[in-house]
Symmetry: C2
Subunit: 148 residues, 2 copies
């Protein structure tokens, strides 16, 4: 019910995300990565293949290719041949990649935490539960659609 309500919520949420994103950006730049690249780097160890990254991050394959190119050029990620399926590129973070990721997360943590510290532990837990509920189930249509 209350359609305007939902729309309003969406806009609020949108604005929140944008704000945190903007705050985080310069910090990541200092580490030599773009925000988008950070997302990729952050998922490389979970999603071992470009196609998986594309699905998880809801970004087009072409964009993943671009961000990976940069990460590889920067020596943060390695592409290796996947023995089981020669079409695929198995991905792995390099030690340097792990280090940069760690620092990036630490830097971001500052921003996140600053923002999130307005909530007490209970509220934060509740917020997370709500987000998970919203994201759950059927909606995993995934695909080649654009994301962040």
């Amino acid at each position: 019910m209350a359609d305007d309500d939902s729309a309003q919520l969406w806009k609020l949420n949108q604005r929140l995300l944008t704000r945190v994103m903007n705050a985080a950006e310069p910090q990541l730049a200092a580490l030599g990565i773009e925000t988008k690249e950070f997302f990729v780097l952050d998922e490389v160890d979970t999603c071992r293949y470009p196609a998986e990254l594309a699905a998880k991050l809801m970004l087009p394959k072409a964009s993943i290719t671009t961000y990976l190119r940069n990460l590889v050029a920067a020596g943060l990620v390695r592409r290796e041949i996947d023995e089981g399926d020669l079409r695929r590129h198995r991905l792995a973070t390099t030690p340097r990649g792990r280090e940069v990721l760690e620092r990036a997360l630490a830097a971001l943590a500052g921003e996140f935490t600053t923002m999130m510290s307005r909530l007490d532990a209970h509220e934060r837990a509740e917020f997370r539960r709500t987000l998970l509920k919203l994201l759950d189930t059927g909606s995993d249509v995934e695909g080649d659609r654009r994301g962040p």
Copy 2:
């Protein structure tokens, strides 16, 4: 506390937004507007001037110019001279603009509500309260930084 926690939350939220955005897009396209243009159209009556829109939506001025150009070309928004300050363009939605906006909101409401209906009234209220809390106060650094 729990930095990973915050980061995790942020990612979840990011994903949620992306998903709704993607679901909404074709509906708006059917009405002849882009998602970004919708945001602008939606705020025109609140933010009567391009500069205000840029601040509110956290988008660069150049982008606002572009989206407005399209909206004006589509006959949804009018630019008029502001008597008080001739540098400014007073904006107004046309009747057609109002109609399209209404339909767009209705279309979006479907998506929003589908997503939000997983929450009961209480949860939704709580969620809103949390978002508002997160967005409140000092963070209004605003500026010419990029947004949605």
